[in-house]
Symmetry: C2
Subunit: 361 residues, 2 copies
């Protein structure tokens, strides 16, 4: 939530996909480039679980964004040509309404009284921003990781609204391995003595659980091969060495990342978004994936993945590409040779930039 | 520790590899079959992190052991021919001295005052059992998982004492990925509110941390592919469903396994053994792996691994086999096509049985 963030406030009830409602919502978004006369040059970017709407820097906010090298003048998502829009997910804690927001009925944070969140809700909340901007049709929707789920939830609910879709290191639903990992992350949070069934305070933050959750996340976001190259069995001297904690460089690396994350992200937001990822299934309405694409999309699809991704393994991207092809769409599928695992799309711009630039046309 | 367990009590100090000493030690072991006249038919089996010496049932103890289908009359490790010996690791809590044992100087459990444990100590403690039985030379040493580390520590310290060695789903040292996983398991235990720096009690057991550690273990012991086949996205109805905990079958599977483990294994034993695995390096004395094998072993080596193992990945077994071959030994190397990950050696007897039977001659 920087100086370039916009907020859309909707003061009517928002019905949740799995039941319940929010009496009002706020959606945080940021944009780059200009909407053209025909209002047909919008590139909508959905995010992974933790990032906010600040995907790139701008004159108003020079702070680098989470996809800084991907979005900008002359960059793969070229803001000289496109009106690029990134929307903070409903349920997150980076400006949009989520479990950390105040429930107007009680004057207190929602926390665990927040209704169950679905990926479909995130897509529908984003749609409100597009309506607010009076944009009917998109040039492209781009979804990396959880954002790929959101892009699929978009197609499901708003068929025929985009000419291009990019599903990056994503899938049509989570594997049991990914569910198991997230289940453990949630268990670490809810069993933290400070979590107190959601009644945690600024002074007694569930740091222990959040730290474990983040470290486990990092283990699945990167790859064993990358760590072998980067760390091997090197020792660390950044933190005091301890018998059971800090001896190896890989341990201090995890600790450094965890410390950065712990205070920044709301534990309940994490729980709701994490479970929404487990529950998402593009085909939960007895529709095949091919049927979903045939009904909702005609255009040029891009599917990217890397073979070192253990959270969204490459066979899931193959399945997406196969269904898109079978539905009659033009599909560019690239299995990229990155060693950086699931997070490769955040760091390996040499691999991910060119296919995105080409696909955007 | 069943009715077939034997105990060797050594009442002189045991010097630890990384410093410190134990004033006395006890080693638990079990055996099957008979030692022959020449005392040259012993097959020594080292264990993974958690199992005890009860590898198989017998007349004295009909309870199935952890390698029940592998050891017995006519089984791959044939007790009609071999004197099979399984030794509970020093540092464990299954009969041998470990952090849960009483420190004779204080009359209280050692817990965190136990000296740092090394895999080399486990091998040296096992050696005392062999000396007690007056066995000079072994027909074979078999080490699966952590047991493979122990087998290497055996060769390092007792060169030329065995005609055969089997390294199963093991390595010459841990990858940074494996270290990261174990680091998180330890962090979950030591941050449990009941851990109290080792002063936990029967009534206030660090169950939360042990449960998380065990679940994370299970995630890395099996494979994503196996879970895809077994569970897919099936829902569970075994435990009450909860929004953030129990909805999917994979979640109830993990919970069931964790509940079995939590009360059975001592948290401090887990910490010491876990860190000993991180620290082990067959080549920590400036010796190459090839040099180690050349110095310590001439005979027939067996190296087994599976391509779905993420904890001891197949390239590590290839490295072992390559070094053994380069050292001049006869090597049988099998990359087995099991989907069951690191734990395949405990469950997939159709794949692991035949090569072990053949190699034993």
């Amino acid at each position: 939530m920087g100086p370039a963030t916009h907020y859309l406030n909707i003061s009517r009830p928002f019905l949740m996909y799995r039941g319940g409602e929010l009496p009002e919502i706020r959606i945080a978004w940021e944009s780059w480039g200009k909407l053209n006369e025909a209002a047909d040059n919008t590139v909508l970017v959905f995010t992974g679980l933790s990032p906010g709407a600040h995907a790139a820097s701008s004159a108003e906010d020079p702070e680098p964004g989470w996809w800084e090298k991907m979005i900008g003048p002359g960059r793969p998502i070229d803001t000289d040509r496109f009106f690029v829009l990134c929307i903070n997910s409903l349920g997150s804690c980076m400006g949009s309404t989520g479990p950390a927001s105040i429930n107007p009925a009680t004057g207190k944070p929602w926390r665990l009284s927040f209704p169950e969140l679905a990926i479909e809700d995130i897509a529908r909340a984003a749609r409100l921003v597009l309506e607010h901007l009076d944009i009917q049709r998109l040039h492209a929707v781009i979804g990396p990781s959880m954002g790929g789920f959101t892009a699929l939830a978009w197609l499901k609910q708003f068929p025929g609204t985009t000419s291009r879709v990019a599903l990056i290191s994503s899938a049509c639903s989570a594997t049991p391995f990914a569910i198991a990992i997230r289940s453990l992350q949630r268990e670490a949070i809810v069993t933290d003595r400070n979590f107190r069934n959601g009644a945690y305070t600024e002074d007694d933050w569930p740091e222990v659980g959040m730290r474990l959750a983040r470290k486990l996340g990092m283990i699945t976001y990167r790859s064993a091969g990358e760590w072998q190259r980067r760390f091997g069995r090197s020792r660390q001297d950044y933190f005091p060495a301890t018998l059971f904690g800090m001896r190896f460089e890989v341990e201090s690396y995890l600790e450094t990342h965890a410390r950065k994350f712990v205070g920044q992200f709301d534990p309940c937001s994490y729980l709701y978004l994490s479970r929404a990822m487990d529950m998402f299934d593009a085909c939960d309405s007895d529709e095949t994936l091919k049927g979903l694409f045939r009904r909702s999309f005609t255009g040029h699809a891009l599917v990217l993945g890397v073979d070192s991704d253990i959270l969204f393994p490459l066979h899931q991207q193959r399945d997406l590409a196969g269904a898109l092809e079978a539905s009659g769409s033009e599909v560019s599928f690239h299995a990229l040779p990155s060693v950086q695992g699931h997070d490769a799309f955040l760091v390996d711009f040499d691999s991910f930039g060119p296919p995105i630039r080409e696909w955007l046309g």
